[in-house]
């Protein structure tokens, strides 16, 4: 067909319902706000890794759906999570990204979380341990026993990630929530402790789902010279997408020929425990987390949506805690040559989603974004995205292909 006029351009594609989405789901401010309430405040999110707080009294600050969170390791070695909000005047208790509460703070004692504003102090279980001039100000109307922090459900799971949910009534454990999607790499990441070696952030002008879409489909390997020369072979095209409950997907492995890219080397010597040489599994978890075990390094993307057309992506890389210095350096090079901020592939992926974001800004004309490739679930099938949006529709009670309609009503 030649280039289309407006009517032709906006006509439904010759695909079935569920094989495209309306671009307003990537740009509508009301939908974004609703996603924060209906999805991000309800699900499990891996906010950091336990190796980021290795010692008792270590902490890490993060956020989910605009709610600031502090993760601490107690003297009992338990990792716990709390809202990073002082119950007194709503000050953010800790402002640093990470550190230790073992030393004294300017306003407080060692081994306590201290709100600098009025010196209220909390122990590592979130109990309020001290209110400055408590009796003078509150007499017996407020007692520190009643002023604990807001505790959050948390679990350390799947290779040592710290998972947090804002929803006390979340019906799932993390194990149940993952629904088996981690089984393909479970031995590799749970046999011995992992350690984070890479962290950087990207804030990109696009909706968070566009990054998840990119992680969920491999058809875009045409964009990556590296993946074409190290991948495109019979084994690659035999990889399958596998859907799990709760909107998760993983992608089966194959043997990557890393040395086909000039200057790169095989990763076979540094495979994770029980993981065949140079293999590559990927797990995409609803609503926006990605775990990517490729050869010698594990990558994890965690998305924090900042607006309908703005997302922060945190990129982490992991090796084994037992790595020798030499092995660790090789893992780092393997990870970053592809996935670092100066790597060959990540830059290309981020250019692509930034370009999508530029065409789907708030107020731009609604368009149909296609997810209609069917190849018996093989690698270039877009089933991953279709599976995600089926789940998204249920959580949002909106039809992804027509988000102003209710999910079930539109399905009929």
């Amino acid at each position: 067909m030649p280039a289309r006029n407006h009517k032709q351009w906006t006509s439904p594609p010759s695909l079935k319902a569920g094989e495209w989405v309306d671009s307003r789901i990537y740009s509508d401010p009301d939908i974004f706000e609703e996603e924060q309430e209906k999805i991000f405040k309800k699900v499990w999110i891996p906010v950091c890794h336990e190796s980021e707080l290795p010692e008792p009294y270590d902490f890490r600050t993060v956020s989910i759906a605009r709610e600031p969170i502090i993760v601490v390791r107690g003297p009992d070695n338990e990792v716990r999570a709390f809202l990073n909000v002082c119950p007194h005047r709503g000050m953010m208790i800790e402002r640093r990204p990470a550190g230790s509460f073992a030393p004294a703070q300017p306003s407080g004692n060692p081994k306590h979380m201290t709100c600098m504003f009025h010196a209220w102090q909390f122990d590592m279980k979130g109990n309020c341990a001290y209110i400055s001039r408590e009796e003078e100000g509150y007499q017996d109307r407020i007692k520190k026993e009643d002023q604990g922090l807001r505790r959050l459900r948390s679990e350390v799971k799947f290779g040592g990630f710290v998972w947090v949910t804002l929803d006390d009534q979340n019906e799932h454990s993390v194990e149940e929530w993952a629904d088996g999607s981690f089984e393909c790499i479970r031995e590799a990441i749970d046999t011995e402790p992992l350690q984070v070696f890479h962290y950087h952030k990207a804030i990109i002008g696009c909706n968070y789902k566009l990054w998840h879409d990119t992680n969920s489909e491999f058809y875009h390997d045409y964009m990556h010279y590296h993946n074409r020369v190290t991948g495109f072979n019979e084994e690659y095209f035999a990889r399958k997408n596998v859907a799990f409950g709760n909107g998760h997907v993983n992608v089966n492995s194959f043997e990557v020929k890393y040395d086909e890219y000039e200057g790169f080397e095989s990763r076979a010597e540094l495979s994770f425990p029980g993981f065949p040489p140079n293999q590559w599994y990927m797990i995409d978890m609803f609503p926006g987390m990605n775990f990517n075990l490729r050869g010698s390094a594990l990558r994890c993307d965690i998305m924090t949506p900042l607006g309908p057309d703005k997302v922060m992506i945190e990129f982490r890389g992991f090796g084994l805690k037992s790595d020798s210095a030499e092995d660790r350096q090789h893992r780092i090079e393997h990870h970053n040559s592809i996935w670092g901020p100066f790597g060959r592939n990540l830059h290309e992926d981020l250019i692509a989603v930034a370009g999508q974001g530029a065409t789907m800004q708030t107020g731009s004309e609604p368009r149909r974004i296609q997810h209609g490739r069917h190849e018996d679930n093989f690698i270039h099938d877009e089933v991953g995205m279709r599976h995600f949006y089926e789940e998204w529709g249920k959580w949002m009670d909106r039809m992804p292909s027509d988000p102003m309609k209710k999910y079930m009503a539109a399905a009929e």
């Binding site: 190796s51 980021e52 952030k201 990207a202 670092g340 790597g343 060959r344 290309e348 250019i351 930034a354």
Partner: protein, 163 residues
Amino acid sequence: MSANGTQVAEAVKDTIYRSCLLLDEKNWGDFFELCDQSFNYSIKAFSPEISYDMTYMSGSRKELKSMMEMLPKHNTDHSALKRHATVYTVDVDGKDATAVTSLVVYQNMVDGINSHIDSGESHLFLIGRYIDKFKIEDGNARLVEREVRLDTRRLDKGTHYLI
């Protein structure tokens, strides 16, 4: 500093500033001509988030040359990076020298996102330092090692280019 030391320091500064101009121009070939065959390059940053001294990129002269020569096969943000450098210190030790250079890199946008809106715009891309080591030969300073020590860890789309 002796007269000879002053001359070496000037040679070191000359190499650093020429390296900036050549990298600004994406003239990788002439940049590598400033480097010894044993040249090693790395981009590093300490992350207070994970309390880890990270290596974002590393490579030998040969590896980097190969990567830059393959750039036409990659999809890339072609926006130019422009370096503003000030050499803070040069320390000379016989036929070796080290230098610390304060570095600010701006990105002059071309095709990064939506060129109709943002081409021509310049913004801060990263801040950091060059920590360089040199071999002094015939009054010339050849780069033996360059560590780009970044403070910036929010790198957004990143880049395929050497810093």
